[in-house]
Symmetry: C2
Subunit: 324 residues, 2 copies
């Protein structure tokens, strides 16, 4: 008896074809997957900023609804946003795809989307790994992760260190739940509920949940050019408190006055999620929060709305609190 | 009825505690997770080289056998080796851990091992992501991936471009199957076979399969300092042909004279795997192959053995063939 890898559920030929395709799409630059540091010559004193992230169980719902076409943008934009909040410009990206069973059409679609997202942002896709692991992943399931490296001038790193009492919080609207809370969402709704038109959403639940994570890079760069920015937070898993608290220095407290959550979040909450849980999981309609000198209110850039302020934190309380 | 994330199988508090721990271990340097490019000032014209990889279903066997303590080194060494074959020195690393259910003790052990591996190689652990996805991963299963960035002088990039007829192939011994072929292996053996002492191995099968992937960085750096190196291949998934063929230029062919495979590979093959499948999946005892000017044979560095040579490839045949 001879056992082949194909029989155990791992199709090396499909993986190899896909790898060839990945390789074929990389290397159009002078050094292929290599990034010469002289490309940073426009910087005075560049610092590399990097991040790794995944898009969670959004992959599962997208696959079940047959709408995987935004997942590549999800991972690229998520990673870009994560370093953009430090003031960084993305340089290069690497993807990691892992499947129960490699489906070349699915993988190819995801790679097309990753490539398009990178291309539109001037990011070099320098590498990737595609794995097939029937023994680890559930049937029909896959995972998408990515790593990004960008650069920022050392004296222009945004890290919250200059935040002070009297600063204001301004927020930029998210375009949905992004990639967070999908395990919770999938425990609340049965698969046939996603295609029903929801009057409150003006669309079906599936159409409202799956649009790819918005890229905030250009909004953030414009705001930084505008000036007065002391700190920035990308609102991902952990919600506003979980993400904003990381940039609030000791001795200070952010008081958040949340606008009413968009209908999508209200609909989720109505299905039996507490306010505390909603706040700890979802962005509640705010994709990015900037902590700025109050002078920014004189000319608040379009798209940003005031959502709170910074005060002293005498009692070593939580660094982020809500007014209601 | 209120649904919490904990009830759906995602323990945000455990994730947050772990995230705090990760954050607590990062940032001991001047810029925390940031890597100033001036740290590359010793380079004349540095090029950044990066790679992303995973360790496949080795995680599953390690978890089943209760021996997860080497998995962190597996991912770090795998990534280091991937860029070392381009002549690069690793600079910084990011990890991605994804679980069916986050087990803090398991995650902590893996992170300890990642941290130790990075530390011993002078690599900065600049970030990481830990995800809990009960809907995507099988019960008790988890995945480990990582991304690495290193640097090499632009005029010292090793990419196989200078390989020519008459060059010799030299190989460095692997220390087992590394992280490849575990789906196949787990289809061949039942779980109770891993703890039985195997006379041919001088150990149990489990003890022979699980040692972490050897790090070849220092061996490669020594060889490069020795000179005469035209190309290097890290033998991972796809075996010798799959990995060596990527560095062989068009019009040339590598003829590989394989030494007898170590007992571990013989034992696997005896359980019903064809020679072709063995060659396409496993490293067969060779962890790294260097393609070198034949003058290297006059003073072959310790540990390296001759395993073939380069000839013309008139017939557009496979770029790698075996003599038997």
């Amino acid at each position: 008896v001879t056992t082949t890898y194909l029989e155990t559920g791992v199709d090396l030929r499909a993986a190899s074809d896909l790898a060839e395709r990945i390789r074929g799409r990389i290397g159009s630059g002078l050094f292929g997957g290599f990034v010469p540091v002289w490309q940073l010559k426009a910087y005075r004193n560049p610092v590399l900023v990097s991040s790794v992230d995944g898009i969670g169980t959004k992959t599962r719902l997208a696959a079940q609804l047959g709408r995987i076409d935004g997942l590549g943008r999800d991972i690229v934009h998520h990673c870009v946003n994560d370093i953009a909040v430090h003031g960084a410009t993305p340089l290069f990206f690497l993807d990691y795809l892992a499947f129960h069973r490699l489906e070349p059409a699915v993988a190819g679609s995801i790679l097309d989307d990753i490539e398009a997202a990178c291309s539109s942002l001037g990011i070099k896709l320098v590498g990737g790994e595609t794995a097939e692991m029937p023994g680890v992943y559930r049937e029909g399931c896959f995972d998408i992760a990515g790593a990004i490296v960008g650069a920022v001038e050392q004296d222009e790193i945004v890290d919250g260190g200059t935040i002070r009492v009297g600063d204001v919080l301004i927020g930029l609207a998210s375009n949905g739940v992004h990639t967070n809370g999908f395990s919770l969402i999938q425990s609340l709704f049965s698969i046939d509920e996603y295609d029903t038109f929801e009057p409150a959403l003006g669309a079906s639940l599936g159409e409202s949940l799956l649009p790819p994570h918005r890229c905030y890079f250009h909004d953030i760069q414009s705001l930084l050019a505008h000036g007065h920015v002391h700190g920035l937070a990308h609102i991902t898993g952990g919600g506003i408190a979980g993400n904003l608290s990381r940039v609030i220095p000791a001795g200070l407290q952010a008081v958040v006055e949340l606008p009413p959550a968009p209908p999508l979040f209200q609909l989720i909450q109505e299905h039996g999620v507490s306010t505390g849980e909603m706040r700890g999981v979802f962005n509640l309609g705010i994709g990015i929060i900037a902590v700025c000198d109050a002078r920014i209110l004189a000319h608040l850039p379009a798209g940003w709305v005031t959502i709170g302020s910074i005060r002293e934190n005498h009692e070593y309380a939580e660094r982020v609190v809500f007014t209601s």
